[in-house]
């Protein structure tokens, strides 16, 4: 021991071990920086995908002369070639797939001769083939007239053209999806009826009328298609080649280099809306994620419908009714631990029990005639049930905590006033613990919304033709497969043939999913903090 007495001034601020304190501080710093960095990365990358960049025209030295390329810079990187020499490269989105094949290209910084931002470049969105970046050429109308780009009426006729195709396309969609779809469904039902019960004059007559109706609809559809087909927009790419777009393909035209901040913000909002509200196109790499949002929401809501009552009942039983002893304690620990069991294990169970076992039973009872499995394949119902099992421990634990936090005094007061046990629980304990239960349910929903691994086994698909809830009777189609934001990310990022083209969509979807999950968690945390404040005085 040090015999020299230490001065009182250093007590509490002794230097002993101070560097280690700083080491622990570094741990916290890194933890916080990593968390915020990750969130920041997703947010910036996500927002970037919506923000319209200026389009630049690069003159590039190809070795055998120069070549003009129009597009915007996606990323810069350093690449080391096999000789060990470093190159600074930029990746340019240049669109125009029919001209280049690849929508993205890398160019060596050293090979760029000049770059400029010309005013008159158009960014054209179309149904198929991705974006086109080019100068306006002329409009060729179906009636043989043409409007050149330097004509003063060019802009208005272009707008008219787009508006016209929009309405026609909507009409086409209505005919194809709704009317022909309904027709086809009825034909299928009748055919199946005929197969099992033999064909009768009535069914034959009905089939004949349906066929007639179909022919009429088909003719109508062809008419609309013809109306869409007539007009053509000609564009000039910067390297002089011509791009021809049928009016029926046109979706949207934007002049990124003319628009100011407001114009570009407007365009960004339009893109966000388009992303949220429209169906995916081009193997999910373009368009929106509406069906995935819808699927995620429906699945999560159905899940919470199952998980809330079951979780709450189990928690009330454990806390209020069961005889507290080693057995209940063991059960409580086990339930708690189920929350830590890997989600894929629940997926495995869901596949075997819900789909193959329960689904098989349901099919053999209610759909013995169906050729393809109805409930014996993945669907919204089974996915929700699987996730309900996965998240029920979360709700049980949260509810139990909330029940335990209700002060003894309140409970005893209720009993003293002559309430029965159930009355005390129903009128006093449950209302008091409602915020806690809500927290548990929100946490469970957040976990359910972000979970992907078990869903891959029980009903999520990359592209579902129909939504699980729609206008067709019986309106809720619990057996239908569905799309999910999390799976959308997985599928786009790892299963899509052109992963480079899919990247913006993945980042946008990631941002959306993270926003949903974080908002739900924040809500749960805030509610929990309120709850703590409310009972802070009485519980400790």
């Amino acid at each position: 021991m040090d015999s020299k007495p230490t001065s009182f001034a250093t007590t509490g601020r002794s230097r002993k071990g101070e560097p280690f304190v700083w080491l622990t501080a570094a741990g916290l710093t890194m933890g916080v920086v990593l968390t915020l960095g990750l969130l920041g990365l997703v947010v910036t990358k996500g927002i970037q995908t919506f923000w319209p960049d200026r389009i630049q025209v690069f003159e590039i030295d190809t070795g055998a002369g120069t070549e003009k390329v129009a597009g915007y810079v996606v990323q810069e990187r350093e690449r080391r070639d096999p000789q060990g020499v470093d190159h600074e490269e930029i990746q340019i989105f240049r669109g125009n797939r029919e001209l280049f094949g690849e929508k993205f290209a890398f160019f060596d910084r050293a090979s760029i001769r000049s770059q400029e931002i010309p005013e008159d470049i158009l960014l054209v969105e179309r149904m198929e083939g991705g974006h086109v970046i080019a100068r306006a050429g002329k409009i060729l109308r179906a009636d043989g007239t043409e409007v050149p780009a330097n004509d003063p009426g060019f802009a208005t006729s272009l707008d008219e053209l787009i508006e016209k195709t929009d309405t026609k396309r909507e009409e086409l969609r209505r005919i194809e999806k709704i009317e022909i779809g309904r027709n086809a469904r009825e034909v299928k039902e009748l055919r199946s009826l005929e197969r099992f019960e033999g064909s009768t004059p009535e069914t034959q007559a009905r089939l004949a009328t349906l066929n007639e109706e179909f022919l009429k609809l088909d003719a109508e559809r062809n008419l609309v298609r013809q109306a869409l087909a007539g007009d053509v927009l000609l564009l000039d790419a910067v390297d002089g080649r011509e791009i021809r777009i049928e009016a029926g393909e046109l979706l949207h035209i934007f002049r990124p280099n003319q628009a100011g901040v407001i114009g570009r913000t407007g365009e960004m909002l339009r893109r966000v809306w388009h992303f949220l509200a429209s169906d995916p196109r081009e193997a999910n790499t373009e368009g929106g994620v509406y069906p995935a949002i819808f699927g995620t929401v429906v699945m999560t809501l159905v899940m919470s419908l199952f998980v809330t009552p079951f979780g709450v009942v189990a928690a009330i039983y454990l806390r209020e009714y069961a005889k507290q002893g080693p057995l209940v304690r063991a059960v409580r620990i086990s339930v708690n631990n189920l929350a830590g069991v890997p989600s894929i294990v629940f997926g495995v169970f869901g596949l075997a029990f819900f789909i193959y076992f329960l689904g098989g039973v349901v099919d053999s009872w209610f759909f013995p005639r169906s050729e393809e499995p109805v409930f014996k394949s993945g669907g919204v119902l089974w996915a929700s049930l699987t996730l309900a099992l996965l998240t029920v421990p979360v709700v049980i634990v949260a509810t139990e905590e909330a029940l335990a936090a209700v002060p003894r005094g309140v409970r005893e007061a209720a009993l003293a006033c002559g309430a029965s046990k159930w009355q005390a629980i129903q009128r006093v304990v449950l209302p008091a613990s409602l915020p806690g239960i809500l927290t548990g349910v929100i946490l469970a929903m957040a976990r359910g919304a972000g979970e992907v691994a078990p869903l891959m086994l029980v009903g999520v698909v990359k592209s579902a033709p129909d939504l699980p809830i729609d206008g067709e009777a019986p309106f809720i189609h619990a057996e239908r497969q569905f799309m999910h934001l999390g799976f959308h990310i997985y599928d786009l990022g790892f299963q899509s043939p052109d992963s480079e083209a899919a990247k913006p969509m993945v980042f946008a979807t990631t941002l959306l999913l993270i926003t949903i999950v974080v908002v739900m968690n924040l809500a749960a945390i805030i509610i929990r903090n309120r709850l703590r404040k409310k009972y802070a005085t009485s519980s400790f």
Binding site: G12, R13, K16, G17, E18, P19, F20, V21, W22, L23, T24, A25, A26, G27, L28, M30, G31, V32, L34, T35, L36, L41, V42, Q83, Y317, A322, V331, S334, V335, N337, L338, V341, P342, I344, V345, F346, G347, V348, F349, L351, A352, F353, L389, P393, S420, R447, V452, M456, L457, G486, I489, S499, V506, L513, I514, V517, V518, N521, L522, I525
Partner: protein, 752 residues
């Protein structure tokens, strides 16, 4: 003052309405039943998964049928249709006997064109049901027993036999009667191995397509192998595909000839039992392995494999089985999988090649001389010397399963030694599934290990700082932020790992090494320097705000370390290519220096991103237990003059250590079961190496990738369930232990 007279309370005041009581009782029952049901349902998961894997570990079920009467002649061939309904016996004459397995009725059918021929040798190929015949004049031929299956309207079926004679060929080599023969049918190219009294020949037959009519079988060539065998030939065998020919002679040697591209060449001579010749040589399903049985019943399996550094496949002993006992050995390969029926002297065993397991053992009512399987592997039949036959119903859905197959080293066909391997599906019918869970378990542990390497230091340091030094108002922000990080969907982390992080850090390994070293060191250095500062300036940041000061410092250090990475690479990690050129590239250097591969999507990336998922878990639990250390203890230590670090080191950490340990266990559990990050950030190759720069396949990723394609009820499907059960047990046990530790700690702290 007058006290009002005590009124007896109205007795009704204490009465509760019947309805309330009834409802109360009802709700009690409802909640009790509901609660118990939910809890049971949750635990039912475990039972259901167990139920799915139990069949994997049960042996074969065999039910004997009735013994059918004798034919009186010693049978040479026993065959059966694919439904196991009409077995036949052939004893080397011009007729063949069909016996109904259901009612024992016999039917003799004449084989056309065999009237005056003397048959001296027969061979049987159960896959095509072809009986090959050798005559006393040295000519060979064959006939096929085909069955026409007809389905009646009510679903019942009738099986009608049909015999097709194939062309005869005269063997031009050697002299005397045919002693032994074997037929290898590889479709277009076939071989007929013929051993005569003197001479050995391989007839190459070719199926020629004719423009009109059926394809014609013609002799493509005859190879004379007489000079290559020294002593008397005892037996010949040909593999299913007609590529391997085995000849056993009296000296105990077995010669392996390969028939390939129109020529037959000797590859290998080996002695399975030393001086003693084998009495049986039987190819197993797939034609890669052959079972050698010697008099006395010793049985060895030889499989084709490529020795290291060699291009030619040779036979090598891969397994040996217990002796069968005395008596004539019988043998029948299963036509669906790698199991086989064998036995001697009335005792029968069903064995499996890959796992080396005995699936079933039983006693036959007579001493069998012949045995055969049906094409669906649902029945097998045995025949006695006097022509009695007996059928057995076989139910063995998972012959390749077993403890050894899942957890032991297995010598698979074609391999050069016993290995742990996972390869569940293959391109061909005779593919041998390799179902060892060991590579997957190693993969899971590997990913977890690297994740914990990264996350444990950060999470624990942060937890210590947050619990011991961080001011309360900051804690209120930091803790929820960490909780939100815990809720980030793993698919997002996996996507970032695979698409963003993996390409970014691929060529930055030296920078990352520098970062890992420089960050903690610089934090310690800042601490040392800070203590040297005068108290006045120290006061500005004291009391838990140190981490804010570290933010810019660590930022600068990180940037410097990041940009110094290439310099480190140039100094240390220089790859020398075959031309002698030097390239500073870690990606090339690593395989050269260690002999291990470098993948873009590797364990480092997985470890980093999975670390992200684990940090908040460990942080939250460790922080809880650290902050719950009773204030009396820490205050006492501080009062005795301990510095704040001394308090942490000697009081807080020891007291909270069970809590910290349980945090680590729960973090481990989370990392072991993580699925999406691993699926997306690794190459998903099942390997058993701990190399940080290669990928892996974990149990959970394996389930996610393979289960959607697995047929329900198949061995593959159930094995994936076994993987899920392993995961379940592992995490559940770990979490339970952690929970118990934590509860003990809580009680201990209460007493203090």
């Amino acid at each position: 003052m007058s006290i009002p007279p005590q009124q007896a309370p109205d007795p009704k005041r204490f009465e509760v309405s019947k309805g309330t009581l009834l409802f109360d009782r009802l709700m009690t029952q409802v909640i009790r039943c509901g609660g118990i049901a939910v809890i049971l349902a949750v635990f039912g998961i475990f039972l259901f998964i167990v139920k799915e894997i139990v069949p994997l570990f049960s042996g074969a079920e065999v039910r004997p049928g009735e013994v059918r009467e004798q034919t009186g002649e010693r049978p040479q061939v026993l065959g059966v249709d694919e439904w196991g309904e009409r077995p036949f016996l052939y004893s080397g004459r011009d007729r063949i006997t069909f016996i109904s397995a259901t009612d024992g009725q016999r039917e003799e059918v004449e084989i056309p064109g065999l009237k005056d021929k003397v048959i001296t040798a027969t061979a049987y190929d159960p896959v095509n049901r072809r009986v090959a015949l050798g005559l006393d004049d040295g000519s060979v031929g064959s006939f096929i027993v085909a069955y026409q299956t007809e389905f009646a309207d009510d679903g019942s079926r009738t099986v009608k036999p049909e015999i097709t004679l194939e062309p005869w060929f005269q063997v031009s080599v050697g002299e005397g009667a045919v002693k032994a023969l074997a037929y290898g049918d590889g479709g277009a190219a076939r071989v007929l191995v013929v051993a005569r009294e003197k001479g050995l020949a391989v007839l190459r037959l070719a199926q020629k397509r004719a423009l009109v009519g059926k394809p014609k079988l013609a002799l493509a060539g005859t190879d004379d192998l007489t000079s290559q065998v020294n002593s008397e030939i005892l037996g010949v065998a040909a593999s299913q595909n007609g590529q391997a020919v085995l000849v056993a002679d009296a000296s105990g040697e077995v010669r392996y000839f390969q028939s390939d591209a129109g020529k037959v060449s000797l590859i290998e001579v080996f002695r399975p039992f030393g001086e003693e010749p084998p009495v049986r040589m039987d190819f197993l399903f797939g034609g890669v392995s052959v079972a050698m049985t010697r008099q006395g019943g010793e049985q060895k399996i030889f499989s084709l494999f490529r020795p290291e550094g060699s291009e030619i496949r040779v036979f090598g002993e891969t397994k040996s089985f217990d002796p069968l006992g005395s008596g004539t050995p019988v043998f029948a390969p299963n036509l669906r999988n790698k199991s086989f029926l064998t036995g001697a002297g009335g005792r029968l065993t069903l064995r499996h090649l890959t796992s080396g397991a005995t699936r079933w053992e039983g006693e036959a009512p007579f001493e069998p001389v012949l045995a055969t399987f049906d094409g669906k592997s649902e029945h097998f039949f045995i025949a006695a010397e006097d022509g009695r036959i007996q059928g057995y119903r076989l139910d063995d859905p998972h012959p390749e399963a077993g403890w050894r197959a899942f957890f032991g080293k297995v010598w698979y066909e074609g391999g050069s030694g016993p290995v742990y391997q996972w390869q569940s599906t293959g391109g061909t019918d005779d593919f041998e599934p390799k179902l060892s869970l060991i590579p997957l378990i190693v993969g899971s542990l590997k990913g977890t290990f690297y994740a914990l390497m990264f996350s444990v230091p950060i999470a624990l340091l942060a937890a210590i700082f947050s619990a011991s030094f961080l001011p309360h108002d900051m804690k209120r922000v930091v803790k929820p932020a960490m909780e939100i990080m815990a809720s980030l969907p793993s698919v997002v982390l996996g996507f970032l790992a695979g698409i963003w992080l993996a390409p970014m850090v691929e060529d930055k390994v030296p920078s990352i090494l520098l970062l890992c070293l420089s960050l903690p060191v610089s934090a310690l250095l800042v601490g040392v320097l800070w203590c040297r500062l005068p108290m006045k300036s120290r006061r500005l940041f004291e009391g838990g705000r140190e981490w804010l000061l570290l933010l810019p410092v660590l930022g600068v250090v990180a940037m410097v370390a990041w940009s110094l990475g290439p310099l480190l690479e140039k100094a240390l990690f220089v790859y020398r290519d075959p031309g002698g050129r030097e390239i500073a590239d870690f990606r090339l250097w690593w395989p050269q220096a260690t002999g291990l591969p470098f993948d873009q999507r590797n364990s480092m990336v997985v470890g980093f991103m999975m670390g992200f998922a684990v940090i908040p878990v460990i942080f939250t639990i460790a922080e809880d237990s650290l902050s719950n250390v009773p204030k009396t203890l820490t205050a006492a230590a501080a009062a005795l003059g301990a510095s704040r670090w001394q308090v942490v080191r000697s009081i807080i950490i020891p007291v909270a250590s069970p809590g910290i340990f349980s945090a680590l266990m729960i973090g481990f559990g989370r990392a072991v079961g993580e699925t999406m990050i691993v699926v997306m950030a690794t190459g998903n190759t099942p390997v058993t190496s701990w190399n940080i720069f290669s990928g892996m396949r974990t149990l959970s990723a394996n389930i996610a990738v393979e289960l959607p394609e697995a047929a329900p009820g198949s061995t593959h499907y159930r094995t994936l369930f076994l993987g899920a059960l392993v995961l379940f047990m592992l995490t559940f046990t770990l979490n339970s232990m952690a929970e118990i530790l934590r509860q003990r700690l809580r009680e201990k702290n209460k007493i203090v």
